[in-house]
């Protein structure tokens, strides 16, 4: 598996995450027009009580694309961007079955899911590096602490089995 092109969090010596969750909020706002815990594709994992050092979790854009492989509507709902080799979701075709979420290499999964009584509203939410935005990933742009960046470094595979801290 080759290195991905993914969001990383800076070390605290460069910039400490302030816990403002602006990254989560702006992600929901600029993709879905609303903000809530089912609408973000980047996740702040709160630091342990009495530590308060928060960790940012996001899709690592693995190039074996288990999410894409698991999608029952592959190439209609979960699609591959051939230019960048990342998987993205075409929401109008997504049925919100959650198979991509389960297939994610990482724990917790880096794919979010809107659960709703209304079947039509059930959608998976996956980071697509804001492929439709000319100025790139909005979490990187709006993080006031500038502690997020795009990286082509190796995927941190040691985090795949990470339990919630």
């Amino acid at each position: 598996m080759k290195p991905g092109n993914h969001i990383i969090q800076a070390p605290m010596e460069y910039s400490l995450c302030t816990g403002c969750v602006s990254c989560e909020m702006l992600c929901g706002l600029l993709h879905d027009g609303c903000i809530g815990p089912q609408h973000n594709r980047i996740f702040l994992q709160p630091g342990r009580i009495k530590q308060m050092v928060h960790k940012i979790l996001s899709c690592q854009q693995c190039d074996d694309h288990p999410c894409y492989e698991a999608c029952p509507r592959k190439d209609q709902a979960m699609c591959l961007d051939l230019k960048t080799n990342i998987a993205y979701i075409n929401e109008s075709e997504c049925i919100g079955c959650g198979k991509c979420q389960k297939a994610c290499h990482f724990t917790p999964s880096r794919i979010n899911l809107v659960k709703s009584r209304n079947k039509d509203e059930r959608k998976a939410k996956k980071c697509d590096l804001c492929r439709d935005k000319p100025d790139g990933p909005q979490c990187v742009k709006w993080c006031p602490a500038m502690c997020l960046a795009l990286s082509e470094g190796p995927i941190p595979w040691d985090e795949t089995k990470e339990e919630q801290a």
């Binding site: 706002l29 027009g33 709160p46 009580i49 602490a145």
Partner: protein
């Protein structure tokens, strides 16, 4: 991305849409449509005032099941608007004297997560039959047995809730202090933010409520996304820089330099979701006061005082006075590391450091300070009161030899870490040797201080333990020692906060204005509204004369109303006090809700909430002029760092000017019918008339100002306070 008219009508943008009533006695809930109150009553404090007026009548005490706690967020919460994530709790407070309706504001995640659960507010009423905590998961509310977490420290209880319900569940809980009805008990969130100032932790305790956990899955939709983005750049844009953690070998400020033997690491955190500021000091690699392990503590404004208090807190004048070229609060700028414009012709005015008396309360001690802060947090007791009131009192009384007749069970010594720990525990668990009270009865000493300082001092005997003079205060302006009482009480049973003496030196225009704001409130009014001015306004006040200046009255009234907006939109005083950006609240309100009000129209809504607050105080607590004037006055008779005081006539002149400007009767302090009606509150005028509290237009005939009922700072005849009386 704004919406068309139809979309706008179809939903409440910015709001969650529902208000949840929780009846602890019956273990039942009820859902109220937010449209009953919103957007008319904005949200936050304004909304809570309106609900409380509708639902809680006179005669209800803090610990009565009939007391209702209203926890509410505003429309900016959960929208990505910076500063919008704060929240407010209102109800009858436990730590003001007498007990009165009050409010407390808080950062942290819970306000926003409550909105993700679908609620703009929750109303907590009744008393649970047994120890309970609430789990709110969207529509589902569970009343859970709290026996397993009752008695736990704050962080232990939070950890237990995390383990039981997952890390995406956000809680606010009380510690042992709240359980034991300690009157300045706090409610603390899992990311270490507290509802401190009203004693609502004790009210939770009285309701058998250990805490509330929220797990929300819903969403909030702001009306105008482009405007949200614009505000993110406009408010706090200067924070768009990295936030490196730095290693420190001491805790330093202008006033102190305390060596940290093992060093510590300094980071900064945001207080609430979506904020792009970083006002919280994260002290990492500190020693846990219970286990000795390495932990991080969040320390806010007063916390550094735990580490040392040799001089009182002082800041540049520009903390409250802004000029066009330095339009932001300098106190905040300094802590954020933003350079000042030193070529500003007003720079000499705003950069002047003022006050900073030497008080010698306690010397620098890094480990003891860290311990004091952490114990307050873990037991769930208000840091401000413990540090600035309890501990300064111990220090001053000890130096004046007043503690000899009080048996603490060990030598009271503010320099001793062992004593500090022991003293907090006495209070939290209401224990310790029996002491004889002024009325001859005996109680454990910790039980006395658990009644909060104002009551404790009266129980012990105010003349000796409250009004005795501390002789160790040295003014650097006058170059001599000046008087201060051993108990730093400023009115409504609250500790001094920007009253110009005892803890924070400040200029007379500032502390007289703050004293009016405090007088009109029911608690320390400063935590969401210090008086702010422009440099031009300051010059005008100086010309017109402090206490006789229409400009000063204008500034007081502006601060009073903006403070309500700050707690309602919501906003944050440090970020929103820019005198040169008065549209901020209206812009935030519009971005969230789509209600396109001018700043003046939104201020009118906040002003209406201010009048509802006044109505509650009148109807529920009999509020009137004499209560206000006499409660705030005594502390102002001690000298400020320049030796200034106000006398009875000067103070009353200022009150008269405020009442006249607000449309209140001079004799009673009650609004005229025309005042209520101007705010569309004619029905309240009717209610006041029914209660006999509607003065004739033009004022009570034959009103003559009362003679001063004080000799110096002591009331000629002090009414007795007994036991736990409110």
């Amino acid at each position: 991305m704004s919406r068309n008219a139809e979309e706008k009508k179809s939903r409440l943008y910015g709001y969650a849409g529902k208000i949840l009533r929780i009846n602890l006695t019956e273990s039942t809930t009820e859902v109220i449509d937010s449209r009953k109150y919103l957007p008319e009553w904005i949200g936050g404090r304004a909304l809570a005032h309106r609900i409380f007026w509708d639902e809680v009548g006179p005669g209800v005490g803090a610990f009565d099941p009939e007391n209702k706690l209203i926890f509410t967020d505003g429309p900016a919460g959960g929208t990505g608007i910076p500063t919008g994530g704060r929240a407010v709790m209102c109800g009858i407070g436990a730590n003001n004297l007498p007990e009165q309706y009050t409010s407390s504001s808080i950062g942290g995640w819970v306000g926003t997560v409550m909105k993700y659960c679908g609620y703009d507010a929750i109303i907590i009423q009744g008393r649970a039959p047994k120890h309970t905590y609430l789990l709110i998961e969207d529509e589902k509310v569970s009343f859970l047995d709290a026996d397993g977490i009752w008695g736990m420290l704050i962080s232990e209880a939070q950890e237990a809730i995390f383990l039981a319900h997952g890390r995406d569940t956000f809680s606010m809980v009380i510690g042992p202090a709240g359980e034991n009805l300690v009157r300045d008990a706090t409610i603390t969130t899992s990311n270490d933010h507290t509802l401190s100032k009203a004693g609502f932790g004790a009210v939770f305790g009285s309701k058998n409520l250990k805490g509330i956990a929220f797990h929300g899955t819903g969403s909030i939709t702001p009306y105008d996304i482009n405007k949200v983005l614009e505000l993110r750049l406009k408010i706090g844009d200067y924070h768009h820089v990295p936030n490196p953690v730095t290693h420190q070998t001491a805790l330093k400020s202008i006033a102190y330099n305390i060596p940290a033997p093992d060093g510590w690491d300094f980071g900064k955190l945001a207080c609430s979701p979506g904020c792009n500021s970083r006002c919280q000091r994260l002290m990492m690699n500190m020693k846990d006061a219970f286990t000795g392990e390495k932990i991080a503590q969040i320390e806010k404004c007063v916390s550094p005082m735990a580490f040392t208090m040799e001089r009182d807190c002082f800041m540049p004048v520009g903390t409250w006075v802004q000029s066009p070229r330095n339009p932001r609060s300098m106190g905040a700028q300094r802590s954020w590391g933003i350079p000042y414009d030193e070529n500003d012709p007003d720079y000499p005015v705003i950069s002047e450091m003022w006050g900073g008396d030497t008080t010698n309360y306690w010397k620098g001690d890094f480990d003891k300070g860290s311990m004091m802060d952490q114990l307050c947090k873990e037991y769930g007791i208000d840091k401000w009161d413990f540090i600035v009131w309890n501990m300064t009192w111990i220090s001053m009384c000890k130096k004046e030899g007043l503690l000899d007749d009080l048996d603490f069970g060990m030598e009271p010594d503010p320099e001793s870490a062992e004593f500090v720990r022991y003293f907090i525990q006495l209070i939290v668990y209401r224990k310790g040797p029996l002491v004889t009270l002024a009325d001859g009865s005996r109680r454990p000493i910790g039980d006395v201080f658990a009644e909060h300082m104002a009551r404790a001092i009266r129980l012990l005997g105010k003349e000796k333990y409250g009004d005795s003079i501390y002789h160790g205060r040295y003014s650097h302006i006058l170059k001599k020692n000046i008087e201060i009482p051993v108990s730093l009480e400023a009115g409504w049973g609250q500790c001094t906060h920007w009253h110009g003496r005892g803890f924070q030196g400040c200029q007379k225009w500032f502390w007289t204005s703050n004293a009016i704001l405090h007088m009109l409130n029911t608690r320390d009014a400063m935590s969401s509204g210090h008086t702010h001015l422009t440099t031009d306004e300051l010059r005008t006040i100086q010309k017109e004369g402090i206490c006789h200046s229409p400009t000063q009255i204008m500034a007081i009234r502006r601060t009073e109303t903006v403070a309500i907006l700050t707690d309602s939109v919501p906003n944050c005083e440090w970020q929103s006090n820019e005198m040169f950006y008065p549209e901020q609240n209206a812009e935030q309100f519009y971005a969230a809700t789509g209600e396109d009000l001018t700043p003046e129209q939104l201020l009118m809504r906040a002003d209406r909430a201010r009048l509802v607050f006044r109505a509650i105080l009148m109807r529920n607590h009999g509020r009137c002029r004499d209560m206000e004037v006499e409660d705030a006055y005594p502390f102002l008779t001690y000298p400020d760092p320049a030796g200034d005081t106000v006398d009875w006539e000067e103070w009353n002149d200022l009150v008269d000017m405020y009442y006249q400007s607000a449309g209140y009767d001079l004799a009673t302090g009650w609004p005229f019918r025309s005042t209520w009606e101007k705010a569309d509150l004619g029905y309240m005028a009717d209610e006041m008339e029914r209660l006999g509290m509607l003065p004739p237009e033009g004022g009570t005939p034959g009103y003559v100002r009362k003679e001063c009922p004080f000799e110096g700072h002591v009331r000629k005849k002090e009414p007795a306070v007994t036991g736990n009386a409110g």
